[in-house]
Amino acid sequence: MAQYLMSVWHDGEYEVDFSSDDNQRRFAQVGKFNEKLQAAGAWVFANGLMPASSATVLRAKDGQVSVTDGPYAESKEQMGGFWVIEAPDLDAALEWAKGATVACEDAVEIRPFQTGE
């Protein structure tokens, strides 16, 4: 079994707002998708993130750690949440990623974790 990161991406800032119809629909879809992941034994972890503006970046250099406000990447596209899943191979992982993007209605990037080899 290999592990993959499925990260959710979107443009710009967003509000964490559970009340709108759109978000209600997406939360319900993602909830169902997560149940499927768990039933299949593919679930490792998943959650949504607070907006990128809530991020802080720390950098260690020559024993000194600097702290800066805001996300690392200055781009418009930011990660909004992620899953960590377990799958036997790329095809199975892509199948989960399809389900993920359909459920959350955002772009999903899938990327393998490093293995110990």
Binding site: A2, A87, D89, L90, D91, A93, P112, E117
Partner: protein
């Protein structure tokens, strides 16, 4: 390399590599092992003669060499395990084992499936089309990096990097080495067909450079198409693609003048079309019709067959071609199909009808598509709109990267009244 060995290499390299990847579970190891086996063959065969089953000989030799190497280099745990597993798998790996004595049939039996596995691996949808085609040519076609680079007219370093990246992506992502299950097969097969079609088309009309036709890639596309049909005889779209390539390639000799300039389909000397290729293409199209599971490549092959049937351009059955484009469009509703349908309507009902059909297409999608502007220019010229035709030719020439095609368009523009 001697001619014999060169011929064996062209025929067997893909098959051997495909089997070795399954045995070794690693593309690079498989490639190295196959290359090493061919080096040994180059030393031995001039003395011993070519063995009766050269592919089996290469596969067995490569396998034994790879196992030797795995043993020597088993510092990494996974490779050690791989070597161990192979040794445990059967007892054909002892040091005194010689491939000449081996039961080669056992290997050859599974080679067919291995080649299919390799096609689906190279054409994995997670890879970009240019990476897919490079990988297919390298692993299944046995072409080396400089050959692929020359064929696509891109720098060697670009192709080398493309191949390395593609292999690494497949490896890092744990891509499976298998034929996709039937539920996924239609989509996955379409990617394979598209890659082979791309290889053929790149040979048929070079996207850039001086020569319009680079024979090698068309021939390689057809060869791969034949392999695929042999491996998947029940897939009508694979048969359709092969038929399309054969019927298109049949016109090759008539596509260029002696001076290398391009000849339009309508102006081609049809006596120079290859009758044997046309007959084979027709037979395949008929087989598809009997099966009655239509698809995009089969419709395109049927269209090519209608062209091939016509003794002259004037005798072309344009109503049938328009009907086939209608069906193709219902399967693949995209702007390029709509444009080709409009060209056929222009032949059937005249340039004004063709222009109306082409105007109905959302040209946002075609704004940088050279054939669209070339087709529009031709229709405008025939409809008598000289200035608009000139502007369309200007745009088409601007978008053309192939000098032969640019020369042709310039001569068309110069011929405007």
């Amino acid at each position: 390399m001697s001619d014999d060995l060169e011929a064996v290499f062209r025929r067997e390299a893909g098959r051997c590599t495909a089997t070795l990847i399954r045995i070794l579970g690693d593309i690079d190891l498989a490639e190295d092992a196959v290359a090493e086996a061919f080096t040994i063959a180059a030393e031995r065969w001039p003395i011993t003669g070519v063995p009766p089953n050269p592919g089996g000989w290469i596969t067995t030799t490569a396998r034994n060499r790879a196992i030797d190497r795995l043993r020597r280099e088993s510092t990494r745990r996974d490779r050690y395990l791989a070597a161990h597993r192979l040794v445990d798998g059967d007892d054909m790996t002892s040091d005194d084992h010689h491939p000449e004595f081996a039961d080669l049939d056992a290997f050859v039996d599974v080679v067919a499936d291995d080649q299919l596995r390799l096609m689906f691996l190279c054409c994995h949808p997670a890879l970009a089309p240019d990476a897919q085609t490079a990988l297919v040519l390298r692993l299944l076609g046995g072409l080396d990096t400089p050959e692929i680079a020359r064929a696509f007219l891109v720098p060697e370093a670009t192709i080398a990097q493309r191949i390395v990246r593609a292999k690494r992506k497949l490896h890092d992502n744990h891509a499976a080495y298998r034929i996709p299950p039937s539920a996924e097969l239609p989509d996955r097969l379409h990617v394979v067909l598209a890659a082979i079609s791309l290889i053929f088309t790149e040979g048929h009309t070079a996207t850039s450079g001086d020569g319009l036709i680079r024979v090698d890639l068309s021939a390689e596309g057809i060869r791969l198409g034949r392999v695929l049909v042999e491996l998947m005889p029940d897939e009508p779209e694979a048969v359709g693609l092969l038929a399309l390539m054969l019927l298109t390639d049949a016109r090759r000799a008539a596509r260029l003048e002696a001076d290398g300039s391009m000849v339009r389909l309508a102006d081609q000397d049809r006596s120079r079309w290859d009758a044997a290729l046309i007959a084979e293409g027709h037979e395949l199209v008929r087989a598809c019709l009997r099966r009655d599971q239509p698809g995009p490549f089969q419709f395109q092959a049927a269209i090519a067959a209608v062209h091939a049937d016509a003794p002259s351009a004037e005798a072309t059955d344009w109503s049938q071609i328009v009907a086939l484009y209608d069906q193709l469009y219902s399967h693949r509703p995209n702007a390029v199909v709509a444009m080709n349908r409009a060209i056929a309507i222009g032949e059937l009902d005249g340039p004004h009808a063709g222009l109306a059909a082409i105007a109905a297409i959302d040209d946002e999608l075609l704004v940088d598509y050279q054939p669209y502007h070339a087709a529009r220019a031709d229709l405008l010229a025939r409809a008598g709109h000289r200035d608009d035709a000139r502007a369309a030719y200007d745009r088409a020439i601007e978008l053309t990267t192939n000098t032969t095609e640019a020369d042709f368009l310039e001569s068309q523009r110069a011929a405007l009244p």
